[in-house]
């Protein structure tokens, strides 16, 4: 589960919340869904909070080869 992309985890979490909202579950199922939901929540939060923007520059060589070169991040603006 830990390898889920942000989008996938976000979507699954939304489904989990909807399932809990609908009700009609026995206690064990509900607790299981809740646990899953909390895991998904943590995955989403981690994605959002740990992320640093990656920027790459695309270039096409004369032979037609495509390369991607990382662009160093801009120095942080103060007070951001």
């Amino acid at each position: 589960m830990e390898n889920l992309s942000f989008e996938e985890a976000f979507r699954q979490l939304e489904e989990t919340v909807q399932a809990l909202e609908q009700g009609g579950l026995d206690l064990e199922e509900m607790l299981r869904l809740y646990e899953r939901g909390i895991k998904l929540y943590k995955i989403c939060s981690e994605h959002l909070e740990a992320a640093e923007l990656r920027v790459k520059q695309l270039s096409l060589s004369l032979e037609g080869n495509v390369t991607l070169e990382p662009v160093p991040p801009e120095p942080q603006e103060s007070g951001q």
């Binding site: 989990t16 909202e21 206690l27 695309l58």
Partner: protein
């Protein structure tokens, strides 16, 4: 040598002229200016008018399909520029101008070209709403086609960094003004299509004049966008600039910064949604466990009531009550009996000689037999008697 005199039919002549006209590239793609007169519309919806100037005139027809695309509708007396081709109407021996575009005079040439291309591409369906694709809500790799040195690039990167740094941005540099720009943009977009995993493309350029933005009105760029597998967001110029590229794009943003905002979700909104989901989940679980606890407590009470210990306790209580009742009954009965007994005793007591004796009477007994003397005839002088009084006896002799 004398040539044989060739005599033509009228229709042959008209056909010959028609051929000449249709083969002439100038006559097939013309811009003409003049004044509108004799304007009329046929039942079928086609517009007929005469275009004239001081030296001459020519009949024009604007077919309904082209008329529908016109935002400008000419009236008699208007000075206009039209685009079209010359055609021969052989049946009546006329030539006329088949017009596909009418614009008021005074509008710049660039603008005319813009309108012409716009009309043509619209007809081909490049602007169709149905063909526009949805922008992915959580893109993972965004390609950015823009000038590597403009402000637009930095603005876009800053906004994406603030809102959604999860994404990877690939910058595909291109010229964005000048005569080579349109090909440069098309080439950059082609290169982007060779990169895997790109799910969104932003085509951007900061503000500028109509000439500076012109590459985004060129056919090459429009077709590039149309051919793109990936959804394209355009952010070109200022709010009021609408280029042909904007019309073909899957989504138009008024500026490069707006394009960045439309391209990615906002991290803080996502976090807020996550928090509200977490609160929702917790409240659901809390509600359910509280209700379960409550039901459990009720069951517990029920069980408790049925438990052997309780039952025993209840019986013990009942037995205690019974014992209490019994002791009370017995006690009461004893009281009754006691008072009855006391009643009897006091009656007995009342009947006992003691009271009589205490009242002053005495019991006289004749000795030695002890018979009670009731009558004087029972005694003679010198008889020995015993007299019982209240507190004892004494003996005596009868006189």
């Amino acid at each position: 040598m004398e040539e044989i005199l060739k005599i033509l039919q009228v229709s042959e002549l008209n056909d010959y002229i028609k051929g000449l006209v249709e083969r002439d590239p100038v006559l097939q793609d013309l811009w003409v200016e003049g004044e509108v007169s004799n304007l009329s519309q046929s039942v079928a919806g086609h517009l007929y008018f005469t275009l004239k100037d001081s030296g001459g005139q020519i009949r024009c027809v604007l077919f309904r399909s082209s008329l529908l695309r016109q935002s400008f509708l000419p009236k008699d007396g208007d000075s206009v520029i039209v685009h079209g081709r010359v055609g021969i109407y052989g049946a009546q021996g006329l030539y006329q101008l088949y017009v596909d575009l009418v614009q008021p005079q005074g509008v710049g040439f660039l603008h005319l070209q813009f309108e012409a291309l716009k009309a043509r591409l619209e007809e081909e369906g490049l602007f169709d709403q149905a063909r526009k694709r949805l922008i992915p809500p959580f893109p993972q790799r965004i390609a950015l086609v823009t000038s590597p040195v403009g402000a637009a690039l930095q603005d876009i990167l800053n906004i994406i960094k603030r809102r959604y740094p999860l994404v990877e941005v690939i910058v595909a540099p291109a010229l964005v003004q000048g005569s080579e720009a349109s090909e440069s943009i098309a080439s950059a977009m082609r290169t982007v299509s060779m990169v895997e995993g790109v799910d969104l493309l932003i085509l951007a350029r900061g503000g500028g004049s109509l000439e500076e933005l012109w590459p985004f009105n060129e056919e090459v760029v429009a077709r590039s966008i149309f051919a793109s597998r990936i959804p394209v967001i355009t952010g070109v110029g200022h709010e009021t600039d609408v280029t042909i590229a904007d019309l073909v794009a899957d989504l138009r943003a008024p500026t490069p910064s707006a394009a960045a905002e439309l391209a990615v979700p906002d991290r803080s909104e996502c976090l807020a949604r996550l928090d509200s989901w977490q609160a929702e989940m917790e409240s659901r679980v809390e509600k359910t466990t509280a209700s379960c606890r409550h039901r459990l407590a009720i069951q517990g009470e029920g069980l408790d009531r049925l438990s052997p210990a309780r039952t025993i306790e209840r019986w013990r209580g009942q037995i205690r009550n019974m014992i209490d009742s019994c002791s009370r009954l017995i006690h009461w009965r004893i009281q009754i009996e006691k008072s009855v007994f006391e009643g009897v005793i006091s009656r007995l007591d009342a009947l006992s000689p003691k009271a009589v004796l205490e009242r002053g009477f005495s019991i006289c007994r004749l000795l030695p037999g002890g018979e009670i003397v009731r009558s004087t005839r029972q005694v003679l002088s010198r008889d020995k008697i015993e007299v019982q009084v209240s507190d004892g006896v004494f003996r005596g002799t009868v006189w």
